[in-house]
């Protein structure tokens, strides 16, 4: 059994930040500096510890963009069924697109059937450039 999850002010603030930024990814540093600039103080370690838990609990997703050294975290919106489709991440502007498309959904099946590989959609992100940034 997992330990009790006490409600604390810090956790509330962090989770709210993700809920208010469903369309963006946040880095640990951004979270720390945002909180510390808003009449509150939070330790870096606390942020990392809670981020880890949120990732384990499937509340947020953790990425590593190739050109960034720091990890990025983004809310996994249950309403958008993010576990069931692929994601596209623009390496220029950072936009995350949900690739909810029947054609793409067939890809996972194809890879499993033809290549014996089970793709984990919750981990996989396709990198590239979105319409605007490609220009």
């Amino acid at each position: 059994m997992r330990p009790t999850d006490y409600k604390t002010k810090q956790k509330e603030i962090i989770l709210n930040m993700f809920l208010e930024n469903k369309d963006k990814h946040l880095t640990a540093a951004e979270i720390v500096s945002y909180i510390n600039s808003n009449n509150y103080n939070i330790g870096t370690a606390t942020v990392y510890r809670y981020l880890d838990r949120l990732v384990s609990n499937g509340i947020i997703r953790k990425y590593f963009l190739d050109d960034k050294s720091s990890a990025c975290y983004q809310y996994i919106d249950p309403e958008k069924k993010c576990r069931e489709h692929f994601h596209l991440k623009c390496i220029e502007c950072g936009e995350l697109m949900h690739l909810d498309c029947s054609y793409m959904q067939a890809i996972g099946d194809h890879i499993l059937a033809e290549h014996g590989f089970t793709v984990d959609n919750s981990r996989t992100v396709l990198y590239g450039r979105c319409k605007n940034c490609e220009k």
Copy 2:
């Protein structure tokens, strides 16, 4: 114009390591420890500097696995057209598979045509579990 590329013993050793491990990825630490355990000595900085150059020159690929903090580097085999297809990476055993399949090659075109997104195959790795590890 770019500076002349002097041939050195260090560069030769590193490049050979990639050529002898086309099917695997190597980390900077692995390269350093391998070389230093073989009657030769090389500085960490030298390894990183040459890796950067190999990446810039398109000789090797650099990527980050979700659960690793260190970067992985792998030779881009011209014969396998690694620039043009996707890669599958098993999150259990670390095996990297080349997904060279006409069906899959259509994916990039589809995403561009239907979703206006240009996928960068050299950056994208699909994560999941291979046949053996799925059991």
